[in-house]
């Protein structure tokens, strides 16, 4: 039995197979509409999420399975003080696979140690968000043809932004990737990403605090939201939340075939005026997230 805790749980070949499967699902959805008939997905979400939870639920429903779960800690036994280990042991008797989001880092890993069913990390605090990474990789591969020789700008909250950490971890396995890390000083990527992932693997990167200066170099601009829930101090959040806003004026500095991605939800870091720009791919990205989650569910349930 396999779980998914980090994008690195899959080898590069396995990731390619997963994306091939997602591609086939995208092109022939009818062939997969009953693959999970009789199977149940438990969505255990200890903190609010719309997109990721609904994306998982849509994926399971598209496969002919059913879903059950909770969408906040308040509506689960966690409010009564139940441990993650106990919760997953119980959920293991109710469902065939579990997607778990938790504000505490490492909670899905703890669950996987006790679980009798595959556990998918659907986001753990500021740590990892592997299915978003799978979505990002699948989007890049689908829209660019392959993942190589790209300059990728990661912009916004790179300190607490788990999607960024997971994406960097995954991209360092592809050739010719250059990273441009765009953030205010206070929100730079954690040391372990710089030291253990980028420097250790000899990847080229630079850290800047101006989006305008690097816009023309980028093949992909990955925007992120400054997340209020990751700050202990409200003043810091207010000071940093509007540091970068992508506008049509900034887009004029970019390459004609650059792609703008965003894990969503967006607050105001991308002006709505950018949405009609053909390079704005974040809504397509959200759609692709369902295909890759369908492929993941099938793979972990060993139904392919």
């Amino acid at each position: 039995m396999r779980h998914l805790m980090s994008p690195l749980d899959f080898s590069r070949d396995e990731l390619e197979q997963l994306m091939d499967l997602a591609d086939d699902i995208k092109n022939h959805p009818e062939a997969y509409s009953e693959k999970c008939h009789g199977k149940k997905l438990a969505t255990c979400f200890y903190e609010p999420s719309t997109r990721t939870r609904l994306s998982f639920e849509a994926a399971m429903l598209n496969l002919g399975g059913s879903v059950l779960g909770f969408s906040s800690a308040d509506s689960s036994s966690a409010a009564k003080g139940e441990s993650v280990s106990d919760t997953i042991r119980v959920i293991s008797s109710y469902a065939d696979i579990c997607a778990m989001r938790h504000p505490k880092e490492g909670a899905p890993l703890v669950a996987s140690q006790r679980s009798l069913i595959p556990v998918i990390n659907a986001g753990d605090g500021g740590h990892q968000h592997p299915t978003q990474t799978l979505t990002d990789l699948f989007t890049i591969r689908s829209l660019r043809g392959e993942i190589k020789e790209l300059t990728i700008g990661l912009c916004g909250d790179l300190k607490f932004g788990r999607t960024v950490h997971s994406l960097i971890n995954a991209l360092v396995r592809y050739p010719g990737i250059k990273f441009v890390l765009i953030s205010p000083e206070e929100l730079r990527v954690p040391e372990y990403i710089r030291e253990d992932v980028l420097e250790k693997n000899g990847y080229e990167y630079k850290e800047v605090d101006s989006l305008d200066d690097v816009m023309g170099e980028l093949d992909i601009l990955y925007m992120t939201r400054v997340q209020r829930e990751r700050f202990f101090n409200e003043e810091d959040y207010i000071r940093l939340k509007d540091f970068f806003i992508l506008t049509p004026e900034k887009m004029r500095l970019a390459k004609k075939d650059m792609m703008v991605l965003h894990p969503l939800p967006r607050v105001n870091e991308i002006s709505v005026d950018v949405d009609d720009d053909p390079r704005a791919m974040y809504f397509t990205q959200a759609k692709y997230g369902v295909y890759i989650r369908m492929a993941l569910i099938l793979t972990l349930l060993e139904l392919v």
Binding site: E105, G106, L109, H127, Y192
Partner: protein, 145 residues
């Protein structure tokens, strides 16, 4: 110097930094060895090499103590293994690949700060720079060894 008689089977941990022996006593869980075992701690002894040092002598079956953690605490400690009144091995201390329930994660966002009964586990991620990270949240351990 105060003399402690030799031991038949067990360990002599020498060249411990002065004042550290109690910490090692706790980290090796020597209080739980069993009533047939004897532990002697010599603290603040004179040392040509270190000025002052601590020494721990443990009389017990050698399989009863897991010395892996010593490598994490201080790999300069000399560890002599005694059997039949003679030194049979001078163990070279190395960094353990995993440390369980000796240090704890300081990241307030880590699940290990709230989950009941969860082992505190740290993994050696960079041997050269002696870096350990929490198994759950990957936060680097930066506390005192």
């Amino acid at each position: 110097m105060l003399n402690i008689s030799g031991i038949h089977e067990g360990f002599v941990l020498d060249h411990i930094k002065a004042g550290e022996s109690m910490t090692i006593y706790n980290d090796l869980h020597l209080a739980n060895l069993g009533c047939d075992c004897t532990v002697a701690m010599i603290m603040n002894a004179k040392s040509n090499k270190m000025g002052r040092k601590d020494i721990i002598k443990i009389e017990c079956p050698i399989e009863r103590v897991d010395l892996d953690i010593l490598g994490f605490i201080d790999h300069n400690i000399t560890c002599n293994i005694i059997k039949d009144d003679a030194i049979v091995e001078k163990r070279q201390l190395t960094l353990p690949k995993e440390i369980k329930n000796v240090i704890s994660c300081k990241n307030p966002r880590c699940i290990s700060t709230v989950e009941q009964g969860l082992d505190q586990v740290f993994i050696l991620t960079d041997e050269e720079n002696e870096i350990y990270r929490c198994k759950y949240c990957e936060e680097k351990y930066t506390g005192q060894k």
